[in-house]
């Protein structure tokens, strides 16, 4: 009888411990897998940005081929939301509640991201590297949300500083998209120029639906602008530069990180992009002389970038995929998370991931240096991530001539 009692007690202990272990196990993690979610438009007008998710996917496959992270493979679940926040919300809820994601990465667009931000933060689910430089990610800061995309404010500051101090221009104007992205550019430019006692000579809003750029160019010409900052999408850059050329107005054009894919920009502007000064968040090594653009990997001395091209892109990308900035950015946004996951060790929890993310200091992969700090509810800088950008100039053969080293930009809170 005693013997049976021992068996029963042993069995019950195993069951209870098993249940306890099961209850303690973190959502989205098994002994062999870590489930990571991501959304991104593969269809619709924002589809070109879909390469971000495909880049992340190839990067995760490369990591898995190298043995995964502490014996676990990364299982990447990404879906097409068509840049429609209702679909983003639906997809995130389904993946989170059906399968259970350990964390979310990247995610293209401010509006889709804002639709799901509260849902993820309320459940204390880490979200790392949103694919948009919005201040909404850090104002107010969230313990579980880590931004890695440099804010557009910084682009505008650096471009204005360069225009005034290096090129000696005094008349600077801006065309800005009438949304969060464009307004950050406007604010950054205004604040930077004020430091030199200057003001923008023209501030022209551009709506997404605007087609005719002649009135905009007329205003720029009347303002005698020597340099024009373009905080608009690639399509409007092409229109503004094309119309400017036709109207014989060719100032020094300057663009943000969103137009950093030089070969793409050269193609859509039919070469008009040559000479444009652009802010860049990475993918090139600014300290190397004569570096090519991202497509020209063989000319690159960037060892990490070369590795990603060989080990991720060539092996795992679809044969029609283009090795470009957007695809590589999908890897760059999530590099810090991979670093943190490695530092977590085998005993992985969300809290531990957050703690390791907070320890990241001056981490550099294919983007600029990324640093985080322990969470403080009133200090957005603890979640900004990358604060450096550098300037390059597009050349006529669709390459980049690097103009500056990495430059640290100043964070300006909304409305200050």
């Amino acid at each position: 009888m005693k013997k049976y009692l021992v068996y029963v007690l042993t069995f019950m202990t195993v069951v209870v411990l098993g249940l306890a272990f099961n209850a303690a196990a973190e959502e989205g993690i098994t002994d062999t897998e870590i489930h990571i979610g991501q959304w991104g438009p593969q269809t619709g007008p924002a589809a070109p940005w879909g390469a971000v998710a495909r880049g992340t996917d190839a990067y995760f496959k490369m990591i898995n081929e190298e043995g995964g992270i502490h014996g676990r493979k990364l299982v990447h679940h990404y879906f097409d939301d068509g840049y429609n926040p209702a679909k983003t919300m639906g997809g995130v809820k389904q993946l989170q509640e059906d399968i259970g994601m350990f964390a979310w990465v990247s995610g293209v667009g401010t509006a889709p991201g804002l639709a799901v931000k509260d849902y993820l933060m309320d459940r204390k689910i880490p979200w790392i590297g949103p694919s948009a430089g919005s201040r909404h990610w850090i104002e107010p800061p969230n313990k579980y949300l880590f931004n890695t995309y440099p804010l557009y404010l910084g682009d505008a500051q650096l471009l204005c500083k360069y225009a005034v101090e290096t090129l000696g221009f005094k008349n600077i104007a801006i065309a800005y998209q009438n949304d969060d992205y464009g307004k950050q550019g406007l604010e950054g430019a205004q604040k930077q120029l004020a430091k030199s006692g200057l003001k923008l000579v023209a501030e022209i809003p551009v709506n997404v639906a605007d087609v005719d750029m002649k009135p905009h160019i007329m205003k720029f010409r009347n303002s005698e602008a020597e340099a024009v900052l373009l905080f608009v999408g690639p399509g409007h850059v092409a229109r503004l530069q094309g119309t400017g050329k036709a109207m014989q107005f060719e100032p020094q054009w300057m663009t943000s990180t969103t137009c950093g894919d030089i070969p793409l920009m050269m193609a859509i502007t039919k070469g008009g992009y040559a000479g444009t000064i652009l802010a860049s968040f990475g993918m090139m090594d600014p300290t190397a002389v004569g570096i090519g653009n991202i497509e020209d990997v063989n000319a690159s001395t960037h060892p990490v970038l070369k590795k990603y091209h060989e080990e991720a892109f060539k092996k795992f990308a679809a044969k029609e995929e283009r090795w470009g900035l957007t695809f590589a950015a999908g890897m760059g946004y999530v590099e810090p998370m991979i670093e943190a996951l490695k530092n977590c060790g085998r005993d992985l929890t969300r809290e531990k991931l957050v703690a390791e993310m907070e320890k990241i200091k001056d981490f550099q992969g294919i983007m600029g240096k990324v640093s985080f700090a322990p969470f403080k509810a009133n200090d957005p800088s603890c979640r900004i991530g990358q604060t450096t950008v550098f300037l390059a100039q597009a050349t006529a053969d669709a390459k980049a001539k690097v103009l500056t080293d990495w430059v640290k930009t100043e964070y300006i809170p909304m409305g200050k």
Binding site: T43, A86, M89, G90, L114, A115, A209
Partner: protein, 349 residues
């Protein structure tokens, strides 16, 4: 079979005991649904219910009055922004802000209905399309509405009930949807509804019979806009964040497609169309997970489409479903239902 033999039979909301019985069953099933379904499906149900409200309203205009609107996303946006603005700036409670925002949309619908008196067919379609585009452009320039940067919905409380989850919101949304569908059915069975139908069938004859075309055409626009406005107000709280680009021309086209697929001039058809297309809109993303079919579609996509082919296939399948419904049943889902009913009621002959 469905011929009415007297006036009172025509104005009944529930035409038979069977319908009352099945309506009761539906209410019961809807009541227990959030307790047995996963939260994601409750979200899908909420999304479908909002589509039902808008599409039932749009059918009053398109299906019953014979007018057309390609700008309902504009009214939807006005309802969404109006509800949030009334709650945050005027401190209206949700249940007051929602109909008020609907009334604002209705007023604009009435105003849009005035020029519509002189327009019909494609001309009216273009005029309403212009309204839809203009409405979102104007909203995108108003500071109180967050301009292009969008607005967050405030916390939602009704009395001491703090509504946080999809399940909580479901219990607000479904009764509102039920109520508005019943009101729409009732409108159609009144003098107003008969006036709408007479305008659709022969407006000159209707006018000769004493139907005030100005009044009823603008009223149809106003009622339809009210429904869209209320739907928009609810949508703002399902998403919790809105921005002008959400309310695109595609959204207006989608609403109109739901009306046509459901069946013009049928309330129940609108409910079915809104549910089917709303569901497909969210769920076709998972098409590759269907056993066998998913693998076949993946292989097809990889062979004949580009690298984003798998995603594009969702839209192709969506389009195919629409074409098949329209090809085989121009009366939409309602037509399929009528055939089905007729078959069983006359069986075995």
């Amino acid at each position: 079979m469905d011929r009415k033999r007297d006036y009172y039979e025509d104005v009944q909301i529930f035409t038979s005991g069977t319908i009352v019985f099945w309506s009761g069953v539906l209410i019961l099933l809807l009541s227990i649904f959030p307790f047995i379904a996963k939260n994601y499906y409750v979200y899908v149900a909420n999304f479908m219910a909002i589509n039902v409200i808008v599409v039932v309203g749009l059918n009053i205009l398109v299906g019953y009055t014979g007018q057309i609107s390609m700008g309902h996303a504009g009214f939807f946006a006005i309802g969404a922004y109006g509800t949030i603005a009334l709650m945050t700036h005027a401190h209206f409670p949700f249940l007051l802000a929602l109909p008020c925002a609907g009334l604002v949309a209705a007023l604009l619908g009435f105003l849009l209905g005035l020029p519509a008196l002189r327009l019909e067919g494609p001309y009216l379609a273009i005029a309403t399309l212009g309204f839809g585009i203009t409405a979102t452009q104007i909203i995108g320039k108003i500071k109180m509405f967050g301009e292009r940067q969008g607005l967050h919905a405030p916390d939602l409380t009704i009395g001491s009930w703090h509504i946080e989850t999809d399940k909580d919101f479901y219990f607000i949304l479904i009764p509102i949807t039920f109520f508005l569908v019943l009101v729409a059915r009732n409108i159609i069975k009144t003098k107003v509804g008969r006036a709408f139908i007479s305008i659709r069938d022969a407006d000159i004859a209707a006018s000769t019979m004493g139907v005030n075309l100005t009044l009823y055409k603008t009223l149809a626009f106003a009622v339809s806009a009210f429904y869209a406005g209320v739907g928009g107000g609810l949508y703002a709280f399902v998403l919790r964040f809105i921005e002008p680009e959400l309310f695109s021309m595609f959204m207006s086209v989608m609403f109109l497609t739901m009306v046509v697929v459901g069946g013009l001039g049928s309330i129940m058809g609108s409910v079915a169309g809104a549910c089917l297309l709303g569901f497909l809109d969210l769920q076709l993303r998972n098409i590759l997970e269907i056993p066998y079919v998913g693998d076949w579609i993946r292989a097809l996509s990889e062979s004949y489409f580009t690298l984003t082919g798998v995603s594009n296939i969702q839209l192709i399948v969506f389009g195919l479903i629409l074409i098949i419904i329209m090809l085989f049943e121009p009366l939409g889902i309602f037509g399929i239902w009528i055939r089905f009913k007729k078959y069983w009621m006359t069986w075995p002959f």
